[in-house]
């Protein structure tokens, strides 16, 4: 069996376990994220971490190489270094000022060009959605633009034969089991695996592994096809959702707040 050429598209996000508070500057409408200000570390978006884990497992079982791609600013370098420590063979940072403001279609177009620029591939893995952003659109759009088959929301993946994948796909209260020949794109859903942690050896090995930088010129795309210019949708405004809640903290020592809450629930007849 030929060595599998695996591509994992991933995104770094502020650590979802850390609370993120944000405010909007009323004058400019610009969102200020406390996450950025207080330095919440970036991590691999949780399902993208599962996509990488699945790629590493496929490589370990069947042989091959794993290339991680991310379209981001240079701030993502540390997260890419982490993917190398986890076992990826090389990482590619697709980074160019012209890419800013991309919607999902422009992002998918950019990633498709980046994947193509690296030569032939067999399997592309992505998280089914990212923690922030959360649209889940890039995976299927990427498959369309690469003109390859895709299977969404995969919870189990195995090889039916060296060139054929069998995957279980989760559709809320239904499932389907699907097969397709390579090349194939798979978006992974929660529960497919538990990602490994970095090891000291992995961190040492990662030092020798390359992080490639791809700019617009190497993608074969024009500035009009990427970033804000290449995006059919755009954000034309941001507004807050005003809360109409009482926002009353129940004060007191020990069990008092709990007693007061039970009293309130009793009076309001919600029970």
């Amino acid at each position: 069996m030929a060595e599998l050429r695996i591509r994992v598209c991933l995104k770094s996000v502020p650590d979802p376990r850390r609370p993120v508070e944000s405010t909007i500057d009323p004058a400019t409408g610009v969102v200020r994220r406390r996450a950025d200000e207080i330095g919440i570390p970036r991590v691999i978006s949780p399902l993208d971490a599962c996509a990488l884990e699945e790629a590493l497992r496929v490589k370990e079982a069947h042989g091959g190489e794993v290339t991680v791609l991310s379209m981001d600013t240079r701030a993502a370098s540390e997260v890419l270094r982490e993917t190398l420590a986890l076992g990826a063979d090389r990482a590619v940072l697709v980074c160019d000022q012209s890419l800013a403001g991309a919607d999902t279609l422009a992002t998918a177009r950019t990633l498709a060009a980046a994947i193509r620029s690296l030569g032939p591939y067999d399997l592309v893995l992505c998280g089914a959605w990212s923690y922030h952003g959360n649209t889940g659109q890039v995976g299927p759009q990427l498959a369309e633009l690469l003109n390859i088959a895709h299977i969404s929301f995969v919870s189990q993946l195995r090889f039916a034969s060296p060139q054929r994948v069998r995957a279980r796909s989760e559709w809320e209260d239904r499932f389907s089991v699907l097969e397709a020949d390579l090349p194939l794109l798979v978006t992974v859903a929660e529960g497919i695996n538990v990602p490994r942690r970095t090891s000291m050896m992995g961190i040492l090995l990662a030092r020798e592994k390359p992080i490639l930088h791809l700019a617009l010129g190497q993608l074969g795309l024009s500035a009009g096809e990427v970033g804000l210019a290449g995006s059919p949708t755009r954000v034309v405004g941001v507004s807050t959702l005003a809360s109409k809640r009482k926002a009353q903290i129940l004060q007191g020592d020990g069990g008092e707040p709990a007693c007061r809450l039970i009293g309130i629930l009793g009076e309001s007849a919600v029970l």
Binding site: Q137, L145, L178, G191, A247
Partner: protein, 332 residues
Amino acid sequence: MNDREYQGVWVFAENHGGRLARVGLELLSKARELAGRLETHVAAVLLGNKIKGLAEELQDHGADRLYLAEHPLLDVYHSERHVHVLQGLVEQYKPEILLLGATRVGLDLAPCLAARLETGLSAHCIDLDVDETGRLVQYVPAFGHMCVAKILCSERNPQLATVAPGAFPVRIGGGGKAETIRVSLDLEAQPTRVTMVDHGTVPASRAAELESAQIVIAGGAGIGSLEGWRLLEEFADALGGAVGATRPAVDEGWAASDQMIGHSGKSVQPKLYVAVGISGDMLHMIGMRRAQMAVAINSDPDAPIFREVDYGIVGDYREILPLLIRGLHSRL
């Protein structure tokens, strides 16, 4: 009528096993409103097998045109086939707007279609409107923030959006006698790269009743362990409530994915909603906006959630929940 090349507000009427998904009916009621302002028609697009019986229901909910693609091979959702059929319809009849539920089917189908048509798509909209130029205004929760982004696709057609289930109420009426357009299909001749070898249903989890529950207890990252999650479930049992979760709690494996409340999960409308160990990320809060009364328990007094609920208790849920459970039992 107007002279635009692209006309009509379309709704993808998702259906499974001969039943319409509720979100399609919700979208029809909104489509009626948008179409009224755009002076155009509302069409429901129905792909499936043995679906003729659903036509009347769609007509009753406001569709004045029905595109019916009926074929045994469309019985179970198959990405490639569904995209192929829907793309053919859109290219032939040119709707200006196509709305889909932000269900897994919608979230697979819509981006494929948008990529093929090179048009704009927004995800998980919580509201829709039409601007002064007749373009679709799409409101989506801006990630991680207590704010909503207003999105336009001003140059490409059709304008595509997936809409969060529960965003709009279901309304009867609005349309007249619907005109039915049957689509002729030759799917056997259509090669597919993906083959379905099996399919089935999965047993309902604790989430089955979430959307209709009167009381919802939701847990987040602050629960911290599966053991803690069991305590949360015990509390829900004491209240007779359903258990919901935030994305991090699902990612941790404490809760099933269909228990997720929020942006890409369910939208609940209980009399009482209790958030335990939830910081108050917008992605979650968007799903509980319609709760009559909201309560939060969190150990961080600065957690944003306290501003988004009626009553808050600052403290360790592992101490507070047992007190509440005992208190509830003694009331009964």
